[in-house]
Symmetry: C2
Subunit: 480 residues, 2 copies
Amino acid sequence: MSKEDIGITVAKDDDFSEWYTQIVLKAKLADYAPVKGLIVLRPDGYSIWESIRNTFDKKFANNGIRNGFLPVLIPESLLGKEQKHFAGFNPEVFWVTHSGKNKVGDRLALRPTSETLAYTLYSKWIQSWRDLPLKINFWNTALRAEIKATKPFLRTSEFLWQEGHTVHATKEEAEKEVMKILEIYKKMVEEELAIPVTTGKKSEKEKFVGAVYTTTMEAIMPDGKALQMGTSHFLGQNFSKPFEVKFADKDNVEHFAWQTSWGVSWRLIGAMIMTHGDNQGLVLPPKVAPIQVVIVPIYKKEEDKSKVLSKVEEIKKNLEPDGIRVYVDDRSELSPGYKFNDWELKGVPIRMEIGPKDIEKQSVVIAKRYNQEKSSLNVTEIEKIPQMLDEIQENMLNAAREQSMKNTMNIVNYPEFTSKIESGGFFKAAWCGKVECEEKIKEETGADIRVIPFGSDNTSEKCVYCKEQSASIPIFARGY
Amino acid sequence: MSKEDIGITVAKDDDFSEWYTQIVLKAKLADYAPVKGLIVLRPDGYSIWESIRNTFDKKFANNGIRNGFLPVLIPESLLGKEQKHFAGFNPEVFWVTHSGKNKVGDRLALRPTSETLAYTLYSKWIQSWRDLPLKINFWNTALRAEIKATKPFLRTSEFLWQEGHTVHATKEEAEKEVMKILEIYKKMVEEELAIPVTTGKKSEKEKFVGAVYTTTMEAIMPDGKALQMGTSHFLGQNFSKPFEVKFADKDNVEHFAWQTSWGVSWRLIGAMIMTHGDNQGLVLPPKVAPIQVVIVPIYKKEEDKSKVLSKVEEIKKNLEPDGIRVYVDDRSELSPGYKFNDWELKGVPIRMEIGPKDIEKQSVVIAKRYNQEKSSLNVTEIEKIPQMLDEIQENMLNAAREQSMKNTMNIVNYPEFTSKIESGGFFKAAWCGKVECEEKIKEETGADIRVIPFGSDNTSEKCVYCKEQSASIPIFARGY
């Protein structure tokens, strides 16, 4: 295999799309499945998803949310019970028509999302105020046939996600839940994946079909395109009425319940790759890295081998009690240089090199992946590694924040909007609140309202499109 | 709600099937989905699955197995690549024919199992001996349309499971892996779910379609029916040849690889319910119980409330550092008796009752779920609770072992076989090894060869059916 086959062959700045795809495939995160638009996760990719899942599970549990399981098949009649919702998903639904040689009666949809199924059950499970709040999360996949250009993690016809569905006795409690979840999402994404996000509401046009309103967290990618990172919906009683999710209150009067639903998907992995990766490959934030420290033993003479390997094992054993995920690359017949490239491509946060000279000097060589810095560390200071990983994590978030700020602009007039849109970015621009302006802007520039940030209400400006009084200052961008 | 609505209304001995279904529904483990043959897991049911998954994940990781993700859609052409395998699953496959309004080209199967998909990818991922062994496990669902009577956890058209797929350079290594996995399965089921199993091989007739041979673990349920608890298959080169899973050895010569696949499903939860449950409801082994200790505070006078509740909190705090999962049932307006029944139905291993008199005596009342024993424990002995849970776990396995032994019989002649089969059980009976006898027995008695236990080779007996020389002493039974 030539070096070209192994490493990334295009620069991030030159061909972002090709660069991204090469990282996904060459760092062995994912691969294409035989059906167009579907991907497979290899262990290094799935392990990141497991880490995301475990973090959320803890945060969900602390918030009184438990996990459940829903089947993938939903009868067509059920899916059609909330009409707007159905119309929104209908074009992308995969339909099962046969089992074996037999035609099925009511066609079966592969779950595009589970509101209709979950709430059919919730209406059975909820009888009185004692059964509320009901808060269940489901880790599964959703299936939506993608006809546009597909891309691993970003646009696939089946994707791993979690969908949470909660039911509350009061509107206030449900709305609080919507915000609590969005806060959990934001914290997780910023603290674990080191990606800064902007939270706020979606416009009426962009909200989830069936929701009263949708809150969202959005991030700007290095290529200037926006990525929706997760949404938390206030459903009001839009579903509780058709699905009869009712409860008897303490006074024994029946009420329709108030509901929320919310989800994040493996898009988060795509965002992480785009935000932190560089020309050498993947760069993993320490908190989600399957391997945090890789140790490469270095020796030429056979006589040094056992000395080096035993030192390597000693250091590994020193690190593990701190919960550090360490891997020793003792593959024979591969040069240290080959191994360095390999682990750089895979994005391991810290590489440690140990050879006979290092042992003599009682030190090890440390190479940090995110900034390519090399330094020497005394073996007595090995205990500093956890702290070093924390610093890397923090620095990666800071760097991403800076990058994101550079990509965020205040746009005051429409000519500026149209001239700058080609190079991308988050455009903060005043908007009158009318869907007509939103649609015209989309039509003429390809940019959507990604998010109306909390606290961005503003009536003292003029709409960037129609020049009438503004209602808010949303963020516009072309998106994934 | 009347008491009948809440509790189990039939005895385990009177109507086992109805008893089982009532436990599943009334202990809120699962519920029926709108599509016949599909179920939904509620948090208490899913939490048991999570516990099973976490235990396996640790054991798999220790054995060098990592997790991955495969999509649910497999093209018909791919599924048909191994003919016997395809023929075996074909009648139960759900077919996707449309996405939105468009017909899909090659019909898409919902994964009945993923050998064909996984090995298409493995053939790309494996090039040299360095890439071996490749050991990946997938936690997902399998879909097989069930036409026979369905039953939660035991027979459903979609079921949660794990499927592991490994590739090895040598036959020996692959066969060792098959056995290692079976050992992991057995240990897990016996140690965590407290269900004794018999391991061995399936007969040629009963093996997995496409395997060279199938190893299995089988359990006998209290109603005398056998349940297959998990299988580990040696695939030989049956798939590596059609799917071209090849590797270049150190000498650069290409070889077809040797493969294994293996799986357990949520049937394990069904087995656990049947094995341990009683007329009051579910009985959970402590290791998988979502709640291990439930504390019911008892007071009649409002003035006792704060004293009792603060004692309860104190004891809860004492237990939690030991990793005990404790829940305080402080629901108002419900009598202690109602709560006792509720937690018995839900199978919580230990119930603790604390009232003003207990506080005076510096003690608490302990009720063990599995044997209904009530005793008093001095508050200074609260630290004994973890040990008590271990004893319960052990005693439950012992009781199940005894029950299983009672249900296991040596059968020496066919009239005995046919007369006793109605009352069920594991029948150890000599067999000549011919499929004709196996088929005749199945036809005439409904009993299959469940397992040919390891070490049961025996040529000194006569076949229970044809009276010719025996080859082994398998276990026959009617099964789920």
